[in-house]
Symmetry: C2
Subunit: 128 residues, 2 copies
DNA sequence: CGGATTTATATGCATATGCATCTATTAACC
DNA sequence: GGTTAATAGATGCATATGCATATAAATCCG
Protein backbone atom coordinates (compact mmCIF):
# COMPACT_ATOMS: atom_id res chain seq x y z
CA UNK A 1 0.00 0.00 0.00
CA UNK A 2 2.75 2.43 0.91
CA UNK A 3 4.84 1.66 -2.12
CA UNK A 4 1.96 2.18 -4.52
CA UNK A 5 0.84 5.28 -2.69
CA UNK A 6 4.21 6.87 -2.89
CA UNK A 7 4.78 5.78 -6.50
CA UNK A 8 1.39 6.98 -7.61
CA UNK A 9 1.81 10.35 -5.94
CA UNK A 10 5.22 10.75 -7.49
CA UNK A 11 3.96 9.90 -10.95
CA UNK A 12 0.89 12.10 -10.63
CA UNK A 13 3.13 14.91 -9.49
CA UNK A 14 5.39 14.46 -12.50
CA UNK A 15 2.41 14.50 -14.85
CA UNK A 16 0.87 17.52 -13.25
CA UNK A 17 4.05 19.51 -13.28
CA UNK A 18 4.36 18.75 -17.00
CA UNK A 19 0.78 20.01 -17.47
CA UNK A 20 -0.49 16.56 -18.35
CA UNK A 21 -3.81 15.00 -17.30
CA UNK A 22 -4.06 12.50 -14.45
CA UNK A 23 -2.81 8.94 -14.86
CA UNK A 24 -6.29 7.42 -15.06
CA UNK A 25 -6.73 9.10 -18.41
CA UNK A 26 -3.66 7.34 -19.74
CA UNK A 27 -4.95 3.86 -19.07
CA UNK A 28 -8.15 4.45 -21.00
CA UNK A 29 -6.44 6.24 -23.88
CA UNK A 30 -3.83 3.51 -24.09
CA UNK A 31 -6.42 0.75 -24.33
CA UNK A 32 -8.27 2.65 -27.01
CA UNK A 33 -5.13 3.61 -28.90
CA UNK A 34 -4.10 -0.01 -29.35
CA UNK A 35 -7.59 -1.42 -29.95
CA UNK A 36 -8.64 -2.18 -33.54
CA UNK A 37 -10.10 1.00 -35.07
CA UNK A 38 -9.31 2.82 -31.84
CA UNK A 39 -12.62 1.77 -30.37
CA UNK A 40 -13.89 -0.32 -27.49
CA UNK A 41 -17.12 -0.83 -25.63
CA UNK A 42 -17.18 0.68 -22.15
CA UNK A 43 -17.38 -2.75 -20.54
CA UNK A 44 -14.24 -3.81 -22.42
CA UNK A 45 -12.34 -0.82 -21.06
CA UNK A 46 -13.67 -1.68 -17.64
CA UNK A 47 -12.29 -5.22 -17.85
CA UNK A 48 -8.91 -4.08 -19.05
CA UNK A 49 -8.40 -1.23 -16.60
CA UNK A 50 -10.14 -2.40 -13.42
CA UNK A 51 -12.01 0.89 -13.29
CA UNK A 52 -15.39 0.65 -11.61
CA UNK A 53 -18.26 0.97 -14.05
CA UNK A 54 -19.61 4.21 -12.63
CA UNK A 55 -16.16 5.75 -12.47
CA UNK A 56 -15.38 4.81 -16.02
CA UNK A 57 -18.66 6.26 -17.22
CA UNK A 58 -17.76 9.61 -15.76
CA UNK A 59 -14.14 9.43 -16.86
CA UNK A 60 -15.40 8.96 -20.41
CA UNK A 61 -17.54 12.07 -19.88
CA UNK A 62 -14.41 14.05 -19.06
CA UNK A 63 -12.40 12.61 -21.95
CA UNK A 64 -15.26 13.39 -24.28
CA UNK A 65 -15.55 16.93 -23.01
CA UNK A 66 -11.86 17.44 -23.83
CA UNK A 67 -12.37 15.99 -27.29
CA UNK A 68 -10.06 13.02 -26.67
CA UNK A 69 -12.74 10.39 -27.29
CA UNK A 70 -16.20 10.29 -28.85
CA UNK A 71 -19.16 8.13 -27.97
CA UNK A 72 -20.93 6.43 -30.86
CA UNK A 73 -23.93 4.18 -30.87
CA UNK A 74 -23.46 0.43 -31.22
CA UNK A 75 -25.94 -0.89 -33.73
CA UNK A 76 -25.87 -4.57 -32.83
CA UNK A 77 -27.10 -3.81 -29.32
CA UNK A 78 -29.13 -0.77 -28.43
CA UNK A 79 -27.82 -0.77 -24.86
CA UNK A 80 -24.22 -0.58 -26.02
CA UNK A 81 -21.95 2.26 -27.02
CA UNK A 82 -18.63 2.60 -28.75
CA UNK A 83 -15.95 4.75 -27.24
CA UNK A 84 -13.69 5.94 -30.04
CA UNK A 85 -10.37 7.70 -29.59
CA UNK A 86 -9.87 10.86 -31.65
CA UNK A 87 -6.66 12.08 -33.26
CA UNK A 88 -6.42 14.59 -30.46
CA UNK A 89 -6.77 11.70 -28.04
CA UNK A 90 -3.94 9.75 -29.67
CA UNK A 91 -1.75 12.82 -29.53
CA UNK A 92 -2.64 13.39 -25.89
CA UNK A 93 -1.69 9.80 -25.03
CA UNK A 94 1.64 10.15 -26.80
CA UNK A 95 2.31 13.39 -24.97
CA UNK A 96 1.53 11.79 -21.64
CA UNK A 97 3.83 8.89 -22.42
CA UNK A 98 6.79 11.23 -22.86
CA UNK A 99 6.42 12.17 -19.23
CA UNK A 100 5.09 8.89 -17.88
CA UNK A 101 7.93 6.78 -19.30
CA UNK A 102 10.55 9.00 -17.72
CA UNK A 103 8.65 8.91 -14.48
CA UNK A 104 8.52 5.10 -14.45
CA UNK A 105 12.22 4.98 -15.15
CA UNK A 106 13.04 7.45 -12.40
CA UNK A 107 10.85 5.96 -9.71
CA UNK A 108 11.04 2.26 -10.55
CA UNK A 109 13.63 1.53 -13.22
CA UNK A 110 16.36 3.29 -11.31
CA UNK A 111 15.64 1.31 -8.16
CA UNK A 112 15.24 -2.26 -9.40
CA UNK A 113 17.24 -4.24 -11.92
CA UNK A 114 15.50 -6.36 -14.55
CA UNK A 115 15.52 -9.56 -12.55
CA UNK A 116 14.13 -7.83 -9.48
CA UNK A 117 11.42 -6.16 -11.51
CA UNK A 118 10.46 -9.52 -12.98
CA UNK A 119 10.29 -11.09 -9.54
CA UNK A 120 8.19 -8.22 -8.27
CA UNK A 121 5.82 -8.45 -11.21
CA UNK A 122 5.41 -12.18 -10.71
CA UNK A 123 4.67 -11.89 -7.00
CA UNK A 124 2.24 -9.02 -7.49
CA UNK A 125 0.43 -10.81 -10.28
CA UNK A 126 -0.41 -13.56 -7.82
CA UNK A 127 -2.20 -11.01 -5.64
CA UNK A 128 -4.18 -9.22 -8.34
CA UNK B 1 -1.09 -0.60 -9.22
CA UNK B 2 -3.45 -3.38 -10.15
CA UNK B 3 -2.43 -5.62 -7.30
CA UNK B 4 -2.91 -2.90 -4.71
CA UNK B 5 -6.17 -1.81 -6.29
CA UNK B 6 -7.61 -5.25 -6.18
CA UNK B 7 -6.27 -5.99 -2.68
CA UNK B 8 -7.52 -2.71 -1.30
CA UNK B 9 -10.98 -3.19 -2.79
CA UNK B 10 -11.16 -6.69 -1.39
CA UNK B 11 -10.12 -5.59 2.08
CA UNK B 12 -12.46 -2.59 2.07
CA UNK B 13 -15.24 -4.89 0.98
CA UNK B 14 -14.50 -7.29 3.84
CA UNK B 15 -14.50 -4.44 6.35
CA UNK B 16 -17.67 -2.95 5.04
CA UNK B 17 -19.54 -6.20 5.02
CA UNK B 18 -18.52 -6.67 8.66
CA UNK B 19 -19.89 -3.17 9.41
CA UNK B 20 -16.43 -1.81 10.14
CA UNK B 21 -15.08 1.63 9.18
CA UNK B 22 -12.79 2.13 6.17
CA UNK B 23 -9.17 1.02 6.28
CA UNK B 24 -7.78 4.55 6.56
CA UNK B 25 -9.23 4.74 10.05
CA UNK B 26 -7.25 1.69 11.09
CA UNK B 27 -3.89 3.16 10.25
CA UNK B 28 -4.47 6.22 12.39
CA UNK B 29 -5.97 4.30 15.29
CA UNK B 30 -3.13 1.80 15.18
CA UNK B 31 -0.45 4.49 15.34
CA UNK B 32 -2.23 6.10 18.26
CA UNK B 33 -2.91 2.83 20.03
CA UNK B 34 0.76 1.94 20.15
CA UNK B 35 2.08 5.44 20.83
CA UNK B 36 3.08 6.34 24.41
CA UNK B 37 -0.03 7.57 26.26
CA UNK B 38 -2.06 6.89 23.12
CA UNK B 39 -1.27 10.32 21.76
CA UNK B 40 0.57 11.83 18.82
CA UNK B 41 0.81 15.17 17.11
CA UNK B 42 -0.98 15.35 13.78
CA UNK B 43 2.31 15.78 11.92
CA UNK B 44 3.63 12.60 13.53
CA UNK B 45 0.63 10.65 12.31
CA UNK B 46 1.18 12.20 8.92
CA UNK B 47 4.77 10.98 8.79
CA UNK B 48 3.87 7.48 9.88
CA UNK B 49 0.86 6.97 7.63
CA UNK B 50 1.74 8.95 4.49
CA UNK B 51 -1.63 10.68 4.69
CA UNK B 52 -1.67 14.16 3.20
CA UNK B 53 -1.93 16.89 5.81
CA UNK B 54 -5.34 18.14 4.70
CA UNK B 55 -6.73 14.64 4.45
CA UNK B 56 -5.49 13.71 7.89
CA UNK B 57 -6.98 16.85 9.36
CA UNK B 58 -10.39 15.86 8.09
CA UNK B 59 -9.98 12.21 8.97
CA UNK B 60 -9.29 13.31 12.54
CA UNK B 61 -12.52 15.33 12.36
CA UNK B 62 -14.41 12.15 11.51
CA UNK B 63 -12.69 10.06 14.16
CA UNK B 64 -13.40 12.76 16.71
CA UNK B 65 -17.04 12.95 15.71
CA UNK B 66 -17.34 9.21 16.35
CA UNK B 67 -15.66 9.60 19.72
CA UNK B 68 -12.65 7.47 18.76
CA UNK B 69 -10.10 10.23 19.34
CA UNK B 70 -10.00 13.59 21.09
CA UNK B 71 -8.02 16.70 20.21
CA UNK B 72 -6.16 18.37 23.07
CA UNK B 73 -4.02 21.47 23.11
CA UNK B 74 -0.24 21.14 23.15
CA UNK B 75 1.21 23.52 25.66
CA UNK B 76 4.81 23.65 24.47
CA UNK B 77 3.74 25.03 21.10
CA UNK B 78 0.60 27.01 20.59
CA UNK B 79 0.33 25.89 16.97
CA UNK B 80 0.33 22.23 17.91
CA UNK B 81 -2.34 19.77 19.00
CA UNK B 82 -2.43 16.36 20.55
CA UNK B 83 -4.59 13.68 19.06
CA UNK B 84 -5.48 11.22 21.80
CA UNK B 85 -7.12 7.84 21.30
CA UNK B 86 -10.12 7.09 23.54
CA UNK B 87 -11.08 3.76 25.04
CA UNK B 88 -13.78 3.57 22.43
CA UNK B 89 -11.10 4.16 19.81
CA UNK B 90 -8.93 1.34 21.15
CA UNK B 91 -11.92 -0.98 21.11
CA UNK B 92 -12.79 0.08 17.57
CA UNK B 93 -9.26 -0.67 16.41
CA UNK B 94 -9.35 -4.09 18.01
CA UNK B 95 -12.69 -4.81 16.38
CA UNK B 96 -11.36 -3.79 12.99
CA UNK B 97 -8.31 -5.99 13.44
CA UNK B 98 -10.51 -9.05 13.87
CA UNK B 99 -11.72 -8.55 10.34
CA UNK B 100 -8.60 -7.02 8.86
CA UNK B 101 -6.30 -9.83 9.98
CA UNK B 102 -8.51 -12.46 8.41
CA UNK B 103 -8.71 -10.40 5.27
CA UNK B 104 -4.93 -10.09 5.01
CA UNK B 105 -4.61 -13.82 5.50
CA UNK B 106 -7.22 -14.61 2.86
CA UNK B 107 -6.01 -12.21 0.21
CA UNK B 108 -2.24 -12.29 0.80
CA UNK B 109 -1.24 -14.99 3.27
CA UNK B 110 -3.02 -17.68 1.32
CA UNK B 111 -1.27 -16.70 -1.89
CA UNK B 112 2.34 -16.21 -0.85
CA UNK B 113 4.56 -18.26 1.44
CA UNK B 114 6.75 -16.58 4.03
CA UNK B 115 9.83 -16.36 1.84
CA UNK B 116 7.85 -14.88 -1.03
CA UNK B 117 6.20 -12.36 1.26
CA UNK B 118 9.60 -11.33 2.58
CA UNK B 119 10.96 -10.91 -0.95
CA UNK B 120 7.93 -8.86 -1.92
CA UNK B 121 8.24 -6.66 1.14
CA UNK B 122 11.90 -6.07 0.47
CA UNK B 123 11.37 -5.13 -3.17
CA UNK B 124 8.44 -2.86 -2.37
CA UNK B 125 10.33 -1.13 0.42
CA UNK B 126 12.88 -0.06 -2.15
CA UNK B 127 10.13 1.76 -4.06
CA UNK B 128 8.45 3.51 -1.16
C1' DC C 1 -46.07 -14.48 -26.86
C1' DG C 2 -45.44 -11.62 -22.41
C1' DG C 3 -43.78 -10.97 -17.88
C1' DA C 4 -39.48 -11.62 -15.17
C1' DT C 5 -34.39 -11.43 -15.35
C1' DT C 6 -30.14 -9.99 -16.90
C1' DT C 7 -26.95 -6.88 -19.17
C1' DA C 8 -25.00 -2.22 -20.58
C1' DT C 9 -24.58 2.23 -19.30
C1' DA C 10 -25.78 6.54 -16.77
C1' DT C 11 -26.85 9.39 -12.72
C1' DG C 12 -28.39 11.45 -7.91
C1' DC C 13 -26.57 11.89 -3.67
C1' DA C 14 -23.27 11.56 0.07
C1' DT C 15 -18.57 11.45 1.11
C1' DA C 16 -13.58 11.81 0.18
C1' DT C 17 -9.75 13.99 -2.12
C1' DG C 18 -6.60 17.59 -4.00
C1' DC C 19 -5.22 22.21 -4.36
C1' DA C 20 -4.64 26.55 -2.74
C1' DT C 21 -4.94 29.39 0.87
C1' DC C 22 -5.96 30.94 5.63
C1' DT C 23 -4.93 31.61 10.62
C1' DA C 24 -2.10 31.31 14.39
C1' DT C 25 2.20 30.82 16.30
C1' DT C 26 7.16 30.27 16.52
C1' DA C 27 11.86 30.84 14.73
C1' DA C 28 15.30 33.40 11.99
C1' DC C 29 17.78 37.32 10.74
C1' DC C 30 19.94 41.68 10.48
C1' DG D 1 13.31 44.24 18.62
C1' DG D 2 10.84 44.24 14.70
C1' DT D 3 10.24 42.52 10.18
C1' DT D 4 10.35 38.32 7.49
C1' DA D 5 10.10 33.61 6.93
C1' DA D 6 8.83 29.07 8.38
C1' DT D 7 5.81 25.65 10.71
C1' DA D 8 1.33 23.42 12.48
C1' DG D 9 -2.97 22.77 11.45
C1' DA D 10 -7.65 23.95 9.34
C1' DT D 11 -10.77 25.08 5.55
C1' DG D 12 -13.30 26.78 0.98
C1' DC D 13 -13.91 25.21 -3.30
C1' DA D 14 -13.69 22.14 -7.24
C1' DT D 15 -13.43 17.53 -8.56
C1' DA D 16 -13.46 12.46 -7.95
C1' DT D 17 -15.30 8.36 -5.78
C1' DG D 18 -18.61 4.93 -3.92
C1' DC D 19 -23.14 3.27 -3.38
C1' DA D 20 -27.51 2.65 -4.79
C1' DT D 21 -30.52 3.00 -8.23
C1' DA D 22 -32.40 4.49 -12.75
C1' DT D 23 -33.07 3.66 -17.65
C1' DA D 24 -33.15 1.09 -21.52
C1' DA D 25 -32.55 -2.84 -24.30
C1' DA D 26 -31.86 -7.83 -24.74
C1' DT D 27 -32.62 -12.54 -23.18
C1' DC D 28 -34.96 -16.21 -20.74
C1' DC D 29 -38.74 -19.06 -19.73
C1' DG D 30 -43.26 -21.01 -18.78
Amino acid sequence: MRAQHSLLSAIERDLRSAHQPPLGWYDVLWELDRAPDGRLRPYEIEERTLLAQYNLSRLIDRLEKEGLVMRESFDQDGRGRWVVITEKGRAARAGMWEVYAKSIQAHIGAKLDDAEAATLAELLSRLA
